[in-house]
């Protein structure tokens, strides 16, 4: 049994909020660089170069990469042999409060979806906990901007729609989003499960590094195929036209009901942020 204190959790979350907003994950920065080298369209080349320059400016001047520093989505893989001393969820919210205040990040959360009213400190966090075996407490902060979140979609397809229906829904989602989610986009795709589970799968897919394909060869092939189809749309960086519409996508699946084929597409942008630490 290992003990983790609320203070340790708060400090870690605060640090991760700041780091995630200033430094892009290695795989995302690399995908952007590779896309730039493959892009044949001049306006798109120029746009991708500027997006790369933005990453350097952010890191040099300690500025957030994007002004939408997001909703603080916090994912915790918690070992069942870990004892938390103090209030676990409050410790995470406090970490977000401190990180967003001390890091000069934007406070984008409103207390109520209909009555609005900014909470002033970007709390509450959106917390997802996954229990694992052992003594590890692994925390990932993945701030999510809403320009892209707003373009996400979910559909309960018919089983007869099959893989073609699934692919069409994903491609149609990117086409409908057009320039709004700040392309080049990154897609987290969920398929299977139930109405709620499929959305969680899509969100989880965004946490997988872009250079790690689905371990199931069937889904790995589907990921490659879908990426090529999405990039054939010609939307291009920022919607100005070009080859690079999507930097990468991941599919997560789970068993589903005999009568259903749920699909969810969580749209994210070229500033897909995530930072992880283990306690």
């Amino acid at each position: 049994m290992k003990t983790v204190t609320a203070q340790q959790i708060t400090d870690t979350v605060a640090r991760l909020c700041i780091r995630a907003n200033r430094e892009l994950p290695r795989d995302v920065a690399q995908a952007l660089a590779e896309a730039r080298s493959r892009e044949p369209w001049p306006l798109a080349q120029n746009t991708l170069s500027l997006l790369q320059e933005n990453l350097s400016v952010a890191s040099q001047s300690c500025l957030p990469i994007c002004q939408d520093t997001g909703m603080a989505c916090v994912f915790v893989e918690l070992g069942t042999d870990v004892h938390i001393q103090g209030d676990f969820e409050q410790a995470i919210h406090e970490g977000v409060r401190q990180g967003y205040t001390q890091g000069y990040l934007r406070k984008s959360m409103v207390a109520d979806p209909l009555r609005r009213g900014n909470t002033g400190d970007n709390t509450p966090a959106a917390i997802t906990v996954h229990l694992t075996a052992g003594e590890t407490c692994r925390i990932t902060v993945a701030p999510k901007g809403f320009g892209s979140e707003n373009m996400s979609r979910l559909a309960m397809l018919k089983p007869a729609d099959g893989v073609e229906g699934f692919k069409k829904f994903v491609v149609d989602t990117v086409r409908a989003a057009g320039p709004n989610p700040c392309p080049p986009v990154i897609l987290g795709i969920g398929v299977g499960g139930s109405f709620d589970k499929v959305a969680c799968l899509a969100k989880k897919a965004l946490l997988r590094p872009l250079d790690t394909p689905n371990p199931d060869p069937y889904y790995a092939a589907l990921e490659r195929e879908l990426l090529a189809e999405v990039n054939a749309l010609g939307i291009g960086p920022q919607g100005f036209g070009g080859k690079t519409t999507c930097l990468g996508l991941a599919i997560e699946s789970m068993p589903t009901h005999v009568a259903g084929l749920p699909v969810a597409v969580n749209v994210s942008c070229h500033v897909t942020r995530r930072a992880t630490e283990e306690i």
């Binding site: 997006l51 933005n54 952010a58 057009g178 700040c182 070009g242 500033v271």
Partner: protein, 188 residues
């Protein structure tokens, strides 16, 4: 083609711009996004004046991050413009000439752009740090209670923008992808 434009400006200054052109914008730009647009509309409905001179103005849809000590503004990239679609035609008809944001606009906005000789320019979405570098000074002019959504007066220099909607019906979000796909088909 690249143009240097100084705002505030008249429709005549924007007539040469075409969808896909690059603009280096300098001068005075006012920030306003969702809540500020609601309040501007309420002010107009109540017969009150707007918090800045609308004639020839440039409005930037942005909610920046807070400035750090020694900096004048935080990251300041554009937000999605379509949320302002319901308000923009009225502001354009009152004299607003340049809108800066990112993403699609409604048919009503496109019509008002052509009718008034205005333009809709895109800033780089997700490039908040880069956009901040072009901002020379910041002054809050109204509705400080809105936090990042308050109306601010920015002095900008050579802000790199791309013409999306020009005054002649051009639309880069239609033409850009179509041109790329056409060229690409030729190559295949």
């Amino acid at each position: 083609m690249e143009h240097k434009i100084t705002v505030p400006c008249a429709a005549a200054d924007l007539a040469a711009l075409r969808a896909g052109d690059t603009v280096l914008l300098s001068g005075t730009v006012y920030t306003a996004r969702d809540q500020a647009h609601i309040r501007m509309t309420q002010a107009l409905d109540a017969g009150e004046s707007l918090p800045f001179p609308i004639e020839g103005s440039a409005i930037y849809y942005v909610g920046p991050t807070p400035e750090q000590p020694g900096q004048i503004i935080g990251a300041a990239g554009p937000t999605t413009s379509c949320r302002m679609d319901g308000f923009s035609p009225r502001l354009l008809r009152l004299g607003n000439r340049v809108m800066i944001g990112k993403g699609e606009r409604s048919e009503e906005v496109k019509q008002a752009v052509a009718e008034t000789g205005s333009v809709y320019l895109a800033a780089l979405g997700g490039a908040g740090a880069l956009m901040a570098r072009c901002i020379q000074s910041v002054e809050t002019v109204a509705w400080e209670d809105l936090g990042c959504e308050a109306v601010r007066k920015l002095r900008v220099e050579n802000m790199p923008l791309t013409v999306i909607l020009d005054a002649h019906g051009g639309d880069l979000y239609r033409q850009g992808p179509a041109n790329y796909l056409r060229e690409n088909e030729h190559k295949i």
